[in-house]
């Protein structure tokens, strides 16, 4: 029975990972994508734990749900700071208060 239940856990985590990966690709705005990517990292960590790989889960948790999304957010902030990318001109220091989806594309 424990084996069957582990299989169920693995299957649910697998479907969650597949759905999160699809959502990460379909969210075209990088800020939103960063949030979905951190969810993907989280669900991968769960899947890896169920596959009896806690070492890999730890490293996926640290990288996938913290470092990678943070780097993406910082890059977005840098890239959107200056006018000229189709977005509205933005003077002054960024205070992080601007909404997502100002990249010349409407938010989905």
């Amino acid at each position: 029975m424990t084996g069957t239940l582990t299989d169920v856990l693995v299957a649910v985590a697998l479907l969650l990972v597949a759905a999160a990966a699809t959502a990460a690709v379909l969210n075209r705005d990088p800020v939103r994508q960063a949030l979905v990517l951190s969810f993907l990292g989280l669900s991968l960590a769960l899947l890896f734990t169920f596959l009896q790989a806690p070492d890999v889960a730890l490293s996926q948790l640290a990288v996938g749900s913290a470092v990678t999304p943070l780097m993406i957010l910082l890059t977005v902030r840098k890239v959107r700071r200056r006018p000229g990318d189709g977005g509205p001109p933005q003077g002054g220091a960024g205070d992080g208060r601007r909404g997502a989806g100002r990249d010349g594309r409407p938010p989905r």
Binding site: L14, A21, L37, A53, D55, V63
Partner: protein
């Protein structure tokens, strides 16, 4: 269940590449590459799984327990590190591109060249 994990790995890879192909923003493309990379972790760990096995970490179980394959786990670990560094380097390149050409749209960039 005997092939589901492999197929999910394939799906994640193809979805990631689809995002790369259709992306209009290089930052989004880097994110898609990270997605495509994660398919390799899933595939590696799926190959190494053994039903009824536990992690080959003997801090709290005796060493004669049935365990899963540690070699693929070590490979996946290396994979994740390399994936993270690739992401970092690519994002640095995106910042640099934005400085030089003022855009992060790959199509606009190829127009610049031609």
């Amino acid at each position: 269940m005997t092939v589901l994990p492999y197929l999910v790995a394939g799906w994640i890879f193809l979805v990631g590449v689809y995002g790369l192909v259709t992306s209009r923003n290089l930052i989004h493309a880097v994110g898609c590459l990270a997605v495509a990379q994660s398919s390799t972790y899933v595939l590696l760990l799926a190959v190494g799984y053994r039903r009824g096995g536990t992690a080959p970490v003997f801090s709290d179980v005796p060493p004669d327990r049935r365990v899963v394959d540690p070699v693929v786990q070590a490979l996946a670990l290396t994979d994740i590190v390399v994936g993270a560094t690739v992401t970092a380097l690519l994002l640095a390149l995106v910042v640099q591109l934005r400085k030089r050409h003022g855009t992060v749209d790959p199509d606009a960039l190829s127009d610049l060249k031609g």
